[in-house]
């Protein structure tokens, strides 16, 4: 049990800090959350800066264009960028955290060199077309159909909850290439395709979230031709191709957010001391309990990163344990914020009110809490499958 960083890791941290201190003051102001072109431009410009400074794809393998950093260095990167108040991955999320790693792990050399460098440079944005109106938690029941026609697949169907679809250039799309039957279970007939969002037959209808902005969209696919060369992995092997990297999403996606939550918690305490709510012992002790909670979540992050380091960078099912606890804690944090703000908690111009609204998606997106508990019970604890 060692929580000290090596000299090399500390040097890495110091260099990064210096770079952040020199770079961040030069950034333009953050765009309005409703201005999607502005958001895209802002997020990709930040990615480009990371690329130029040698921080893009830090922990990706060198032959994928990355720098082969260890999970610990990656942790330091996520911690320091958040502490310094740097921008989030934003619209680069799917490319950097899922589509990119999937292509790196399963794609051909040609596919890697076509798609990975633009992700790392911030030239191209990806979205994730997995969920469908009738296939959410039961993703393997998806029905968007792809039929082979010469050197292309013809794709028809619809996707939903596609984040960043409005500004994406590519979509990592899961399609059905073999119908479900008595001997073919749902997950055996799925194929992974890279869909260019500007292909004829693709239409995107933004959906407004309860926070008022359009964070995700519905996507309609009407006989869209996707070149067969855009298939990653074998036909009908898309389920495995996808799952190889799905745990990446749960592994490190929230490191920066835990750091941010700890800062928010301190700000909440300060606000409560300022407005008198601190004298309410219920409020005060709730903040105290959240202090224990987020300290533990940070230690759990360090634990998982240490485990990943041993496993060669592949996060295990511990990501589900973390996601379950964290998504709930985040909601409690912003509920506590509302209690500190009192009537101010109803004012949308306060960041904490907006964050309280967006925190509601955390127990749903990327696998609901119920599904995560199924995963923990069956894959970690070994309980029998069933209802």
């Amino acid at each position: 049990m060692d929580l000290t960083y090596t000299e090399e890791e500390e040097e890495f941290r110091a260099r990064l800090r210096a770079w952040l201190a020199a770079t961040l003051p030069g950034l333009p102001p953050r765009p309005d959350p409703r201005d999607w072109p502005g958001r895209r431009a802002y997020d990709t410009a930040w990615q480009r800066r990371l690329y130029d400074a040698g921080y893009a794809g830090l922990h990706w393998p060198a032959d994928a264009g990355g720098h082969g950093a260890t999970p610990t260095q990656h942790l330091i990167f996520l911690e320091e960028t958040e502490l310094a108040g740097a921008p989030y991955v934003g619209a680069n999320f799917v490319g950097l955290l899922h589509a990119g790693p999937t292509i790196a792990a399963e794609g051909t050399r040609a596919q890697c060199s076509r798609w990975l460098p633009p992700i790392l440079r911030g030239d191209e944005i990806w979205c994730q077309g997995f969920s469908e109106p009738d296939a959410g938690s039961d993703l393997a029941s998806l029905r968007t159909r792809a039929v082979r026609d010469g050197d292309a697949y013809v794709v028809t169907g619809s996707k939903i909850w596609t984040s960043h679809a409005e500004v994406a250039d590519w979509c990592e799309l899961l399609v059905r290439t073999r119908p479900v039957s008595a001997d073919v279970p749902g997950h055996r007939g799925i194929t992974w395709l890279a869909l260019p969002m500007n292909a004829p037959g693709v239409s995107v209808r933004p959906l407004r979230t309860l926070a008022g902005t359009t964070e995700f969209a519905e996507m309609f696919l009407d006989e869209v031709r996707v070149p067969a060369a855009h298939r990653v992995g074998e036909e009908n092997d898309g389920w495995r191709v996808t799952m190889v990297t799905l745990s990446f999403e749960r592994g490190t996606a929230f490191v920066g957010e835990v750091v941010a939550c700890r800062r928010t918690l301190r700000a909440l305490a300060e606000a409560a001391r300022g407005n008198g709510r601190w004298d309410d012992q219920e409020v005060r002790r709730t903040l105290g309990r959240l202090n224990a909670e987020f300290t533990a979540l940070w230690r759990l992050t360090q634990w998982n990163v240490s485990e990943a380091q041993r496993a060669g960078g592949v996060p295990g099912n511990s990501g589900s344990v973390f996601k379950l606890r964290y998504s709930h804690a985040r909601q409690e944090l912003y509920d506590a914020a509302a209690r500190v703000l009192g009537p101010g908690g109803l004012d949308l111009s306060h960041d904490w009110t907006a964050d309280r609204l967006s925190s509601l998606s955390y127990t749903i997106a990327a696998g609901t809490s119920q599904i995560q508990r199924n995963i923990v019970a069956e894959r970690v604890l070994g309980l029998p499958k069933g209802r």
């Binding site: 634990w303 029998p384 069933g386």
Partner: protein, 298 residues
């Protein structure tokens, strides 16, 4: 940074588990619970106490030149986690903390207890008491294996004595061990017991109880191990708070998974719950920990 256990730490963990399985396995536990000397009359197994002393349980953190094992808080936490799993009775924390100051404590020749808030555990069995137990009156202890005395008016000391912080950490480690043990017991029972023609562990309501137990245990583990490494007082208070919660709630869920069997004297789960309640009353209680953690938010 490598938060994982070192090979030596793993070996220590395994060694203590083996020792306790051999010397205080289920049969011994049940003999202690079902024997005559239960409740206020519970008697401490002096032979076992000395064996723990011989094995270095109490001298774990004493420097080698003083006849100790020369290890640190992380190792002590691993040993106490095992004690918590095994429901090992006795004033383990107090005796461990007295290793350097009370002659005979390190070797297990003398049993040391301490006044914690208004409560003292194992007062009659102890050879030495840390703190002032004057006027202590016996309590009909809820835990059959932890005799308790109450010291009226002893609570409310604002400044906890220096040992209080490591005592809180070691207590948290015991709670962690208990939380892990009840998770295992629930999962095992859920895989064996059948109703409606299949294992109850295939029912989602049962599965989700078990998953929640694991999440509590693993969160408490990260908190307790982290606090052991930093030794920082506020982090230790947080670890105690989360470990208390994990131990108590896991025992409750374990009881639920066991159905009617869970409500019996014969099943061990009530022993975990009752001990977890006793440990949760040690400093800092939930209320005290929450206040400390709040005050530290700056």
């Amino acid at each position: 940074m490598d938060f994982r256990l070192t090979d030596d730490q793993r070996a220590l963990q395994e060694g203590v588990r083996k020792l306790l399985e051999g010397r205080f396995g289920r049969e011994r536990l049940r003999a202690a619970v079902d024997g005559p000397g239960v409740g206020p009359e519970a008697s401490l197994d002096r032979a076992l106490w000395r064996e723990l002393g011989d094995a270095g349980f109490f001298a774990l953190r004493l420097p080698e030149r003083d006849g100790g094992v020369g290890l640190g808080l992380p190792e002590a936490v691993l040993a106490f986690e095992e004690a918590g799993r095994a429901l090992l009775p006795g004033p383990l924390v107090a005796t461990h903390l007295a290793a350097a100051t009370v002659p005979g404590a390190a070797t297990g020749e003398r049993v040391v207890t301490r006044v914690d808030g208004e409560l003292v555990e194992w007062l009659d069995a102890a050879d030495h008491v840390l703190g002032n137990a004057a006027g202590a009156v016996p309590v009909r202890s809820v835990d059959p294996l932890t005799p308790l005395h109450r010291v009226p008016g002893a609570a409310g000391g604002d400044v906890p004595e220096p040992d209080a912080v490591p005592a809180a950490l070691l207590t948290a480690a015991e709670q962690l061990g208990s939380a892990g043990r009840t998770t295992e017991a629930a999962v095992r029972y859920a895989g064996e017991r059948e109703q409606f023609g299949r294992p109850i562990g295939s029912f989602q309501a049962v599965k989700h109880l078990c998953a929640r137990m694991l999440v509590r245990t693993e969160t408490a583990r990260a908190a307790v191990y982290g606090a052991a490494v930093t030794g920082e007082a506020v982090e230790i208070a947080g670890a105690k708070l989360l470990a208390d919660d994990a131990a108590v709630r896991n025992a409750r869920d374990c009881l639920q998974v066991h159905g009617g069997m869970g409500f019996t004297w014969e099943a061990d789960v009530h022993l975990h719950l009752k001990r977890a309640w006793v440990r949760a009353e040690r400093w800092p209680t939930e209320r005290e920990a929450a206040e400390l953690l709040a005050a530290a938010l700056r």
